[in-house]
Amino acid sequence: MLSRVAESLFWMSRYFERAENTARFLDVNFNLLLDLNRITHVENPSYWVALILVTSDKERFNSLYNEYSAHSVTDYLVFNKDNPNSITSCISLARENARSIIESISSEMWEQVNNLYHYLQSINPQFVHNNPYGFYKEIKNASHLFQGITDNTFSHNEGWDFIQIAKYLERTDNIARLIDVKYHMLLSEAQSQPEIVEGSEDIIQWMAVLKSCSALEAFRKVYLSKIDPDNILRFLILDRTFPRSINFSVCAAEDALWRISGSSRHRYVNNADRLIGKLEAELSYTAIEDIFSRGLHHYLEDLEQRLVKVGEQVHLTYFAYHTPEIESPDIAEALPFTGIGGGRANWSQAQQHQQQQ
């Protein structure tokens, strides 16, 4: 498969997943604030700043808006074209990538990306404000539909595996960020307002975290009604069967990477396989107590760093246009890779406008 085609499949998938995750964060935050109206109100900035922290975009946000509010954060995360991670930007980039490989993907996949793109072009902020639930549901469903279409109309070979790697790396990263930010917030609240963290509001907030991963029902089946932070973290980080847990997603990314290269346990053939294998093995033998003894924040930060490195190695091995080879870990881990916005958006448009006979 052409490296460019593989790279476009990867970014198409990754941007689509990113859009879905952003829709999930926003959706749950609205719901949460409605539940918490005893102690706060929908415009409480501290609940909106968290969404900006999740995407590590505080600086860019502050350069564009004066305040953290339902309106400004929604605008930034859904519509803003200067934010490469807004839902609109992500779907535009997913479509741009799909368009450049239109002969490689199934026409049903193209239609689905294209439909969502045109849907987003037709939506205005007032519509989202009036019916946030309906709008975010639309985005999530569109993403699920895209994945279903992909699974059922696109050959499960190398190209499909690149789609899976992108999807699960992106998902893992998003879950980690979400947990990190929520934990951070609850912790600071515990210091300033102990009664909140002790009380039912704490549980409601943790339930919101589960909901944003569509994990509440699955969690209840495992832990029944025992909603406490330890169990929730155990579930979201270490559960091996729930598709929006970190462990599951890392395993799925590992499977896809190994299918491409033919790697297996104890026998890796490139650095991407080695790094993902190491991560998966560690997760498999980690207990939640290990994570706490290291400090949750440190643990998640380290995890995010390692995901970036896996992404770098996928890039170097398959997209960077040289013969794959195993490099020494020192060199391999030094190269920068932004993983955001890059993709395939920068084209030399003018030159492509050659006159046609």
């Binding site: 490296s3 997209f319 084209w347 050659q354 046609q356 006979q357």
Partner: protein, 482 residues
Amino acid sequence: MSRFFERYEAEASRFFDEVISKDGTPRAHYDKLLHRFGQFSIDDIKARREIVNIFFRNQGITFTVYGEDEGVERIFPFDLIPRVVPAHEWQSIEKGLIQRITALNAFLHDIYHTQKILKDKIIPPELILGSQHFIREFVGVNPPLGIYIHVTGSDIIRDKEGDYMVLEDNLRTPSGVSYMLQNRQAMKRAFPVLFDKYKIRPIDNYPQELLRTLQEISPNTRREPNVVVLTPGIYNSAYFEHSFLARQMGIELTEGKDLVVNNNKVYTRTTRGLERVDVIYRRVDDAFIDPLVFRPESKLGVAGLVNAYRKGNVTLANAIGTGVADDKVIYSFVPAIIKYYLGEDPILKNVPTWLASNPSDLKYILENLGSLVVKAANESGGYGMLVGPESTIEQQEKFAEMIVANPRNYIAQPTISLSRHPSFSNDSDLYGCHIDLRPYVLYGKTVTIVPGGLTRVALKRGSLVVNSSQGGGSKDTWVVDE
């Protein structure tokens, strides 16, 4: 005459009408079509229009108009009434094209080798050697089978008498063949009964014929040739066609950055390392194809590609430097070229052409700007053109200045009344539109032409410009056995 055509005005005294003859009666090969359309109400037609529109939209059959902002992709306008070409007329077009392309190929081979035709003073050497499309780097190179022009799309028009004549030879990267194929698919869906009434020669084998042609020119005969399409990218107006052809042939669609040259061999960059490429069906112009030889700022090409080609490690289709033979100045010499290389009289006529580089012609052109069509020798797609009768005095004066400043770059032709065909645009009105015909000629071990081609229609009432970039549309073209 069917009721559907009752209100149609052929104006057969002013133009050659494809359907209605001078005496006002329909031509025999249109009988069945008129009869069938006669059975349709306007609503029937609208229903069929909808079928066609849905087909095109779902296929994403779009083209790009430059100079407009967002929403650059537009559906190619399609005219529901097909053009019917009887087999005996097609036979002479086919023979004429084979003759013309064979001679032009011999001409290209000659000027990139011994240049005998220049030494024999058939063509003034400065016209060739001074042409921006004459590529010195390519002199003495021997492309496989001696073929330069593997895919061509000559534009054919009919004059007032209905004689077929060639208006332009497009020997570089002619586009539009995907529309020819898709138009046929759309028509089959919308008018199945009508199809049954004619013996229409099929065209669906074009992608296979194209692939076969490309495989035949592989420099490497020992293994299955690896053929790829090279596109400028998704912002090119013909990108749909590039991806369509790649998909139909089952080969990779590549961009410049997918290819790399190492030790004068060309490879694709894949997830499994480098893979050798034998033949490139390139839809990138010469000027952009290799930044080391042509425009250094080009991001669309492949550094080192020309050298790999010269070494005989890869074949480009079409070859480099073919533009020197479809220059509008050289066009006027094509009858002489046919005579010189083949010793035959041309089967297809040329449009009379005055060269601004020739002093007596220049005088004539400047005196008759209001009635002539002036064209820049190296432009295509309907750009850089002055249509005398439709121009203002200022436009004429501007062109006069440009012509005097650079006479080599301009030619003039009489305003030809292109033949007209009843057309059905989006309003429910039938009217005559000017048309031309672009058949696609494939040149491998043999010359192959799928019967028909793309009939382009100047859908704007009265307009003579059929190019899609200038608001033209197209219709299906049926070569029928009687």
